[in-house]
């Protein structure tokens, strides 16, 4: 079995956007959740002899994530880059990604990180699957190819599930699935000698009102780094009393 796997990755912001701030390798990084999805895809492709396409959307200054994906093992990379994609919300992003994935057919697997480190919606993977009319297994932590059928192992809360999946299908990958391996220096050099493709709105055969701000039913009106409030409290009493009080407190807060 030889797969074509498409890994969707995002250049996630490291800092809250300020006026005039450009998204580049200083201010953004490959979304750590997508890194895990890509690493799992690379493993599957290596064991089955498949190939991987890394797909992302963003300005040209974000092409570093595509190169990084190629250094991690992706065979080719495509960046959806067009001013008219700017300010897309998760729906408009899914519309653009789905159009690009259609153009990349035939494909077998489309993988997404479970969520992003800079917006945490977890919507893009499922929405793209819907737009493509693909079956979706969320929280996948491993794949298995058994002679004639494809298995996806899923992890959610206390449950482990195994799905038999008809390909092509989409998957969001559980953060605990795999530890992305270190990148060998030679692979960075090789990745940077490859060419990546830049696709515009026209390449995707979409209308301008389907993407960007116009195609986005939701919009972010402000974004800032959250100040993490910490509260320190001392619990008095013997060890047993302290343990009891502690358990009571976290129960009251709904933590357990």
């Amino acid at each position: 079995m030889s797969f074509h796997c498409i890994a969707c990755i995002k250049a996630a912001a490291l800092k809250a956007p300020a006026k005039g701030m450009k998204k580049n390798s200083d201010t953004a990084q490959m979304n750590p959740f997508d890194r895990i999805a890509l690493a799992l895809a690379v493993n599957v492709a290596r064991s089955c002899g498949g190939m991987i396409t890394a797909l992302s959307m963003g300005p040209a200054s974000c092409s570093f994530v595509i190169y990084e994906a190629m250094a991690m093992g992706a065979d080719k990379g495509i960046l959806l880059s067009d001013r008219r994609f700017a300010d897309s919300d998760t729906l408009a992003t899914s519309t653009a990604l789905a159009a690009a994935i259609k153009r990349l057919a035939p494909f077998d697997l489309v993988v997404f990180g479970a969520r992003t480190s800079d917006s945490d919606t977890g919507q893009v993977g499922p929405q793209t699957a819907v737009a493509l009319d693909l079956p979706l297994v969320s929280g996948t932590f491993d794949f298995e190819w058994k002679n004639s059928f494809f298995l996806a192992h899923r992890k959610m809360d206390e449950f482990r599930e195994t799905y038999e999946v008809t390909l092509p299908a989409a998957f969001t990958i559980h953060p605990s699935s795999i530890t992305p391996p270190d990148i060998a220096l030679e692979n960075i050099e090789t990745a940077w000698t490859k060419k990546i493709a830049f696709w515009s709105l026209e390449d995707l055969e979409l209308r301008a009102d389907q993407v960007g701000l116009e195609g986005s039913p939701t919009r972010v009106i402000s974004q800032k780094m959250a100040a993490r409030k910490r509260h320190c409290e001392f619990i008095e009493g013997s060890v047993e009393e302290q343990a009891e009080k502690f358990v009571r407190k976290i129960k009251e807060k709904g933590i357990i």
């Binding site: 390798s25 200083d26 060998a184 960075i188 990745a191």
Partner: protein
């Protein structure tokens, strides 16, 4: 961020930092104290290409340019100066001269295992009576039938305790003075090859710096690197590259000290406020940051010149001189900012301070570098 780095070079920095933060930083203090060479990390580094950074890919290397090399050495040294030393000695003064002066057969034989880190290289020039004056070496390699009968007492050999392959500078023609020195590659295991106990050094303690002694060691003629009598020329050319590595190493140690100082200055409270809000501490921090930046720019300039195939010898000397001098100044101030804690092994700056000191001594002392730089410039003003 530095504008001289392309996205590729930034990716290299990121990849090396990510590896070192996870694998080296957590063990750096322990391997220093135990004076232990961390084979477990070294093996991974070998697989990731750290032992053949600039060696061609067809010989098992990573095939990177000099700028990538200095970026990688700086990052490794930011985590552990001693492992930075291992990497830079191996790449700059073992792999590099074999690539530059070796025959095809020698390259095919030695480079692949070196580039993968399966074998470790060392450079043996210094002797008890020959340090800055390399032409004073006493080691001999006398041709007899199919081998060189080699006798040498080499000291302060970085990587010496773990080296499989040593570049030995020895006199093949004892009557020919400077022109009688050659480079012979000695392999561990050869009869008469022995390794001394590791030196009990102040810093760089995870690197097994040892003496290497050769007693009537029969080394095959095909282990001669370059031509007979070309030893000093090989040494000078190799040291240009070596300086670049040491300059990057010193910069990495300084960077680590700088980051630790900024963190500490924000955390440490005195007089009801963080010490970073005191002007005296700010002055130190600003000077440290400026010095580290200036050193890095000098290192990058020399590396970029080398990548462009232009002369870089003086620039490498300046980078080495400046980066090593400021690394003792920067780590000294880092200790000062940390106060009593900085003088304690509980804080990493104490190690940075010890590690930084030797960068002014090895791979050419600061004094020799000043001589070389000044002589070169004076010759331009006849």
């Amino acid at each position: 961020m530095n504008t001289l780095l392309s996205e590729k070079h930034r990716a290299i920095r990121k990849a090396v930092r990510s590896f070192c933060d996870r694998e080296l930083t957590p063990i750096a203090a322990a391997i220093d104290q135990e004076a232990r060479f961390p084979w477990e990390a070294i093996e991974i580094m070998g697989k990731l290409g750290y032992f053949g950074i600039q060696a061609p890919t067809e010989l098992g290397g990573a095939g990177l340019d000099s700028l990538s090399y200095v970026v990688a050495v700086e990052e490794v040294s930011r985590s552990s100066g001693a492992i930075g030393l291992t990497i830079t000695v191996h790449n700059s003064v073992a792999v590099h001269p074999i690539l530059s002066f070796g025959t095809e057969d020698q390259k095919n034989r030695w480079i692949p295992p070196l580039a993968r880190g399966e074998k470790i290289g060392a450079f043996c020039l210094t002797e008890p009576n020959a340090g800055s004056d390399a032409s004073a070496i006493e080691a001999t390699a006398i041709r007899k039938n199919d081998c060189y009968i080699t006798n040498a007492n080499k000291v302060f050999v970085s990587n010496g305790g773990v080296a499989d392959l040593c570049l030995i500078f020895a006199r093949t023609d004892p009557g020919a003075g400077r022109k009688g020195i050659s480079v012979i590659v000695a392999e561990r295991g050869t009869r008469g090859y022995s390794v001394g106990e590791p030196e009990d050094l102040s810093g760089m303690r995870a690197n097994p710096v040892c003496s290497i002694r050769l007693y009537d060691c029969r080394i095959p003629l095909e282990n001669l690197l370059g031509k007979e009598g070309a030893g000093l020329q090989i040494a000078l050319e190799t040291l240009d590259t070596g300086r670049l590595g040491i300059a990057a190493q010193a910069t990495g140690i300084s960077q680590a000290a700088l980051e630790a100082s900024f963190r500490y200055a924000r955390e440490r409270q005195q007089f009801g406020t963080s010490i970073g809000s005191h002007q005296a501490v700010q002055g130190m921090l600003a000077d440290m940051a400026t010095m580290v930046d200036a050193a890095r720019l000098l290192v990058y300039r020399a590396a970029i010149l080398r990548d462009e195939g232009k002369p870089f010898s003086r620039e490498a000397a300046m980078a080495k001189l400046y980066a090593s001098e400021i690394s003792t100044a920067v780590t000294d101030r880092a200790v000062q900012i940390h106060g009593g804690y900085g003088y304690s092994k509980a804080y990493a700056v104490e190690r940075y301070y010890r590690d930084a000191r030797v960068t002014r001594i090895y791979e050419g002392t600061s004094e020799i570098h000043r001589m070389v730089i000044a002589k070169g410039i004076l010759e331009e003003y006849p």
